[in-house]
Amino acid sequence: MGVWFSFWVVVGLILVALIGAGLLNLSVIFGVVFPYLALVVFLVGLIYRVVQWGKTPVPFHIPTTCGQQKSLSWIKYSKLESPATGWEVFLRMFLEVVAFRSLFRNLRTEMGPGFRPVYGSSKWLWLGGIAFHYSFLIVFLRHLRFFTQPPSKLVSIIDSFDGFLQIGHPHLQLTGVVLFFAALYLFLRRLYIPQVRYISLPADYFPLLLIMGIAGSGILMRYFIKTDITKVKELTMGLATFHPKVPEGIGVIFYVHIFLVSVLFAYFPFSKLVHLGGVFLSPTRNLANNSRMKRHINPWDYPVKVHTYEEYEEEFREKMKMAGIPVEKDIEEEETEEKEQEEKE
């Protein structure tokens, strides 16, 4: 079963880091080589994918229209659902990317027995998705403080907001916890909703488990198995400034964390996670509904065999003439016939 396979792979990865960085003391490999490699694979891979999509032509103009088209001046058209201009497309895409608008459509009042309104449960996927992606984003941004000196203002602001509850020491940062549980939710729904379980592949379980591993190891490191943060920052700043150094005495849990992150980065371009870049390129969303106003050109258009009017008339001329339908070659033909007759005579 895909889920076990994914689970053991993640466990295996953790073991690799524990053994490698803990027992074999390969901290340079785990702290410097792998992160650099992963970053290179990530950047090259993702750019390759996006360029590959970008280079693939869009032969036809196929936006999915989810609202009234722009037609007659007195009919109000839906700028967001059926955008007619570039700006409106931008807005549509913006909401799609920022608010998961299409997924939000699931959030609707349903009708229960006897046509009484009932609130559906389908909003959970949207909510889970939003919680997952936003907490991931904030966690990611927060981590920039390890790569800038002094930490940028933005990062500090995020940090303080994130820890606003002021529980524990260091202050509990909500997003890490939210990220873990959102990933857990997305994972569990794959297991417990039969339809979703039926369509799920190892490639669906693996990234979720990996991210849970990352969030989990991060939380462990921050609150439970304390790690020397100044030394960690020394290492990360070294990475950021391309003068890598590996201070002694950083706990092995850190290497587990950074190794899982490295794996995630390296895995990214080869997986479904590329939807991060792909969503911007989707032709059903990022085209304006203006194909009758502006001719869309197919770059690889080629000549095709057609049945011309001349061929058509050739076949049906007599029938057309009998029915009184005008034909093109009528007169010419009569003339040639006359000539032929004259010649015979």
Binding site: M111, P113, F115, V118, G120, I193, P194, Q195, R197, Y198
Partner: protein, 173 residues
């Protein structure tokens, strides 16, 4: 059947639930979950129609239904007649009502009066099953009729008047 009816009336919801589950389980697991979970009759017409149908039938049996039982039976069977069911499979769920009712009657099965009434009930279930079979056959016949009507709609009206009926053979739609 008054005593039995009384029992069924108090147990109505349980019977509906069991019977619904039983019918739903004739679908693939993934689908069964969908049919059960979505309550919107418009996004889940199969599930909601079946539910509506069995509620109607049970209300009829316990003597509270106003509409004809046929209407409700028809709703369920009409769906099953176009899904992947053999005739026997499509109507089998009706017989299962006997087991469900027995399970719900529970301890009182020992009472001779209840047992007598159950026999009576069984024969009405049998009648229901026969009725279900009739409906199934009607639906199947309807499908063949539809095929024929459709072809006629597509061509006949004009062909007939244009005396072009021969052309029917020449053209392939």
């Amino acid at each position: 059947m008054e005593q039995l009816r009384e029992v069924l009336r108090t147990r109505r919801d349980g019977i509906v639930r069991r019977w619904f589950d039983y019918i739903i389980e004739t679908y693939p697991e993934e689908t069964a979950a969908f049919l059960k979970s979505k309550r919107d009759p418009f996004t889940n017409p199969v599930g909601s129609t079946i539910k509506e149908g069995i509620e109607g039938i049970i209300d009829y049996i316990v003597g509270e239904g106003e509409e004809e039982v046929q209407t409700f039976l028809d709703r369920i069977i009409r769906i099953r007649a176009v899904q992947d069911f053999k005739p026997s499979e499509a109507v089998e769920f009706v017989f299962h009502l006997k087991d469900i009712v027995r399970a719900e009657v529970g301890m009182r099965l020992d009472e001779p009066e209840i047992r007598r009434q159950l026999r009576e009930f069984d024969s009405s279930v049998d009648k229901l099953a026969l009725l279900a079979f009739d409906i199934f056959m009607e639906c199947r016949e309807k499908i063949y009729e539809l095929k024929a009507t459709e072809l006629k709609n597509m061509t006949y009206k004009l062909l007939e008047r244009a005396k072009l009926l021969d052309e029917l053979d020449k053209h392939k739609w």
